[in-house]
Homo-oligomer: 292 residues x 4
Amino acid sequence: MKVGFIGLGSMGAGMSRNLIEAGHDLIVYNRTRSRAEEMQSLGARVADTVSEAAVGVEALITMLADDRAVQDVIFDPGRAIESLSERAVHISMSTISVDLSRRLAKAHAEKHQNYVAAPVFGRPEAAAAARLYILSAGPSEAIKKCRSLFAAMGQRTFMISEDASAANLIKLSGNFLTTAVIESLAEGFALVRKAGVDPQKFLEVLTESMFSAPVYKTYGAMIAADKFQPAGFKLPLGFKDNRLLQAAAEEASVPMPMVSLMHDRFVAALAQGLGDADWSAIARVAYKSAGL
Amino acid sequence: MKVGFIGLGSMGAGMSRNLIEAGHDLIVYNRTRSRAEEMQSLGARVADTVSEAAVGVEALITMLADDRAVQDVIFDPGRAIESLSERAVHISMSTISVDLSRRLAKAHAEKHQNYVAAPVFGRPEAAAAARLYILSAGPSEAIKKCRSLFAAMGQRTFMISEDASAANLIKLSGNFLTTAVIESLAEGFALVRKAGVDPQKFLEVLTESMFSAPVYKTYGAMIAADKFQPAGFKLPLGFKDNRLLQAAAEEASVPMPMVSLMHDRFVAALAQGLGDADWSAIARVAYKSAGL
Amino acid sequence: MKVGFIGLGSMGAGMSRNLIEAGHDLIVYNRTRSRAEEMQSLGARVADTVSEAAVGVEALITMLADDRAVQDVIFDPGRAIESLSERAVHISMSTISVDLSRRLAKAHAEKHQNYVAAPVFGRPEAAAAARLYILSAGPSEAIKKCRSLFAAMGQRTFMISEDASAANLIKLSGNFLTTAVIESLAEGFALVRKAGVDPQKFLEVLTESMFSAPVYKTYGAMIAADKFQPAGFKLPLGFKDNRLLQAAAEEASVPMPMVSLMHDRFVAALAQGLGDADWSAIARVAYKSAGL
Amino acid sequence: MKVGFIGLGSMGAGMSRNLIEAGHDLIVYNRTRSRAEEMQSLGARVADTVSEAAVGVEALITMLADDRAVQDVIFDPGRAIESLSERAVHISMSTISVDLSRRLAKAHAEKHQNYVAAPVFGRPEAAAAARLYILSAGPSEAIKKCRSLFAAMGQRTFMISEDASAANLIKLSGNFLTTAVIESLAEGFALVRKAGVDPQKFLEVLTESMFSAPVYKTYGAMIAADKFQPAGFKLPLGFKDNRLLQAAAEEASVPMPMVSLMHDRFVAALAQGLGDADWSAIARVAYKSAGL
C-alpha cells in the first residue's frame, strides 16, 4: 500500500520501520530531515515537504507530538489536506484532543477524504516491536482499508466507534488511569518511607501479589528508587494529555476530581523543576510535601 | 499445632477450614455461635468464651471486622490476653489500624507473649481456596513458628519487618491502591458514557490491552454495568480502611490528597444511600455528579 | 474627553451613563443596537460599526463578555485597532485573560497606541452608582490621562503596575476569593442543615459576628434559602473566570488546588442543569452530594 | 454569681478577669498553678483541685485546649461532674467536638445538672477586651441564668438551639470559613508573587476594596509578608479544629471537599516543620509547592 508517514519521533520511527518491513511503500516526512534519511536505507522515499508526503498516497499517517503539530501539518497553507487525494485516508495516530479529532473528521469529509483516528497504547519499545494496541475509530469502510497497516504496527486493533473522536477520548482516559496509578503509588510510597518501612519491601509485596500488572512494576520501581531519569515518557507530555482530558470532560460537563488532582500535581512538578523527568516524577511532589 | 481461631466471618470461615484440613488442632470462637458449630463437624472444638479459645494454644488467630472487635476480644476483662500462655503467639490477621497493632505488640510483649501482624490480600474466594497473600511482620522467631499455618491459608507469605505494624500499614496502602483504581475507572466511565461511547466497548479496550489486571476487570465490569450488588466488599468497610490509612498518614505527617478525595467519595456514597453496595459503588457518586 | 465605548451590557450601561453625566463626549457601540440607542437620549452618539466608535477618539473603552468578544472587536478585519489613532488609549475593562491582555498590550504598542487594563470589582448596581473599584495597570502616563474617566465610573482607582496584565491577574484572583467564600459557605450550610440546625440561625450568627462582610451576607442569604434566582452573576461567567485564572496559574506554574476544586464544582453545577442560576448555585452541588 | 473557672490560658485569663471585674465571685483552677495565683490578686480564690472549683458553685466554666483536657477535668475520677451540685450549670466554652458536647449534655442531665455549650469567636485580644461573640446553646432556662456572665465576657451572645452541640458545630464551621479565606489568599498570593506582581500592592487592592473584612486584613498581611510569627493561633490548633469538623461531617454524612483540602494543607505544613507558626502558615505550603 502506498503510505505517507509524517512524524518520525521515538514512536513514529519504529512504526514506519514496521510498515516498510511488512512491504508497504512509504514516503516519509520529518521536520528534522536527518531522521527521515535514516529511513531511506530501509527503502522509504524521503519527502521534502509535507505536501509531497501526501500527494498520491492511499493512506497518510500522522504521528506527531501534539495538536499544534498536527494542525500545522494538515491545515496550514500548502499542507496535507490540499494534497491528499479524494478517498485517501488520513490515519491520525497521535495523542490529540477530542476537539481536533472532530475538526479533522469534518474537514476531511468536506474534501471527500477519509479520516480515521487510531491512537495507540504502548511505549517506544512496543512501537519498535510492533506490539502496540491500536484504538481505531471512524467510518468502518475506511478502517477496513487500514487493516494491513494496523496489523504491521500493533498486536491488536480495537474498533471503537464510527465516531472517530471516541478513540481519542478512550486513549486520553487510558492515560489518565495510568496517572492515577502513579499518584496512588506516590502517596503510598511517601507514607511507607516516612513510617520507616523499606520501600523495596513495599514494592516487592505489591508487585508480587495483587499489583503485578506492568504499570505497577514500571512506575513502582522508579518511585521506590526515587529516580526518574531516563524519562520513558516526559512529564510535560503527561501534563498535556491530562489537559486534553480535562478539556473533553469540561465540554461533556463531567466533573473529574482525580483529573484535577493530577493537574495540580503536574503543575507543582513543573514548578519544582521536573520538566525533564519521567512523568512518574510527580511522586517527587508527594515526597516533598511530606517533608522527604 | 494447637490453634485458637476467633472470627468466623466470610474470610475466617475459609481460613479456619484450611487450617483444619492441614491437620491443625483448632478451637474456634465466634460471637454468633452457630457459625462456630459448623466447624465442629470438620473436627474443630467450639469455645464458649474468648478465653477458652486462648487457653493453652500455641497460636491464637484473630480475623475480625475492625479495631473495636479486636480490642474487645483481646483487652476486655476476662479476655484473651489474660488467658494466653507465655510464649504463645497472637496472629492478628484482621485489617486493623497501625495504632492498634502497635498497642497489641506492646501489650503482648509485657505479658511475654508473641505478637505477629499478618493481614491479607484477597477476597473470600481466595480465603476459601487458600490463595491469600499474607503480609507478616513481627519478631522473626515468632513468624517462623507460624509458617505451617500461613502455608495452609495462603499462596505466599511476605516477611515485611520486625515491626509488626508495618504489615498493617502496607495492607492499608494496598487497599488504597485499589480504591484509586476504582475512582479512576469511575471518572473515566462517567466521561465515556456522557460522551456517548459504549461503556462495554471502553471496558473491552481497557481490560484487553494495558489494564488487564484483575482489579480492572472486576471493578470495571461492575462500573460499566452500573451494578453494585451483590457486594463483594461492602462500601462501609472500604471507608473504614480509608479512614485507618488517613489516621496513619496523619500520624506520620504525610499529606495524601488522593486518600482525602476517596474520603469525600465514600462520605458522599453513604449520604446517597449506598451503604449496602459494593465499595465500587463510589462510581455512582461520579455518575450522579455528572448528571447521569 | 472624546470617548468610544463598546459593550452596553448590565455593567457597561451604567458605566457609560456615568461618563456622559460627567460631561464626556461619548460614541457608543453595541452589537444589539437597541441598547445603544437608549444612550442616544442621554446625549451619546451611536456608532454603526466598531470602527466608527474608534475613529478619532482619545480613549476607547471596552466592557465585553469575554476574550472572544474583545478579540473580535479589536483584532478582526476592519476592527478597532485599525481605526484607533496613534496615542489614543484603549481601556480594557472587561474581565479577560492575562494572556489576551498581554497580546493587546503588544499589539497596541506596535501601532503606537496606548493600552491600559482596568478591570473592575463591583456588580451592576455598583456600576450604575459609580461605586466601582477600578484596578488599573499599564504605562503610568496613559493611566494619568484616564483619571477623569475612572473618577466618573468608580469610587476608587488603584494603580497596580506598569505591566497591564497584572490588573487582570488581580481581578481574576479577587473573583476566586469570592468563589472560595461561596464554596466554604456551601459546605458549611450543607453540614448545618443536615445536622438539623436552622440555616437562618447559622446565617445570623455568621453575618452578625466575624463574617459581616457583604460577600458573606449576599451569598449566605442565597445559600441559606437555597434560592439562586434571579442571578446577579451567572454561573457560566463565574466558571469562565475560574478557567482564566487556571490558565494564568498554569502558565506561571502555580498549583492552586482550591481553584481546581472550584473547577470541579462549576462543571458539576452545569452537569446538573444550573447554567441559568447565580454562580452561588454551586452550593446545590454540595447539597446534592450530601443527599439534601 | 458564684462561678468556678477552669482553664486560664490566653483566652481564659482575659475572660475570668472580666468576670471578676463584673463583680462575680470566682474560684479558679489551672493545671499550672502560677497562672491561677495571678488571679488571686484580682480577688479570685484559687482551687487546689478541679473538684474544689466545682463544689458549691452556680456555674462552672471550662475554657480548655481540647477534648481530652475537658474530659479529664469533667469525667476523671474525683473530677468536676462528681462535685457539681444538682441544678448547677456547666458552661463549656472550649472549642470541642460535637460528639463530646453531646456526651457532656447527656452526662450532666443524668446528674440533674445543667449543660450549656458556649464556644466563642474571637482571639485573645477580644477575650481581654470583653469583645467575644458567644455562641450559646442548651436548655433556654439554663442559658438565661448565664446571661450576666456572657454579658461580662462578650459583645454579643447568640442563642442557637436547645441542642447544645449545635453551638459547637457552628463554632467549628466558622473556623473553617476562616481557613478557607487563608487558603484562598495563600493561593492568590502564590500566583501573584510568581507572576511578578508586588504582593503588598495585591494586599492593598484587596483589603481596600471588596475584601476589607478583618479576616482578610489580618491574614493577608501575614501571607503577603511571608511571616507567621508570632502565632496568634497556632497551626496545630487550627488542624485540631479542622479534624473535629471532619468528624462531625463524617457522622452527618456530608462530604466537604474543601475541608479535606485544608486537612491536606495542615498535614503538609506539619511535615514541613511549621508546627510553631500561626495557622496561616499553611500559605507556606502553597508557596513551596509553587517553587517559591
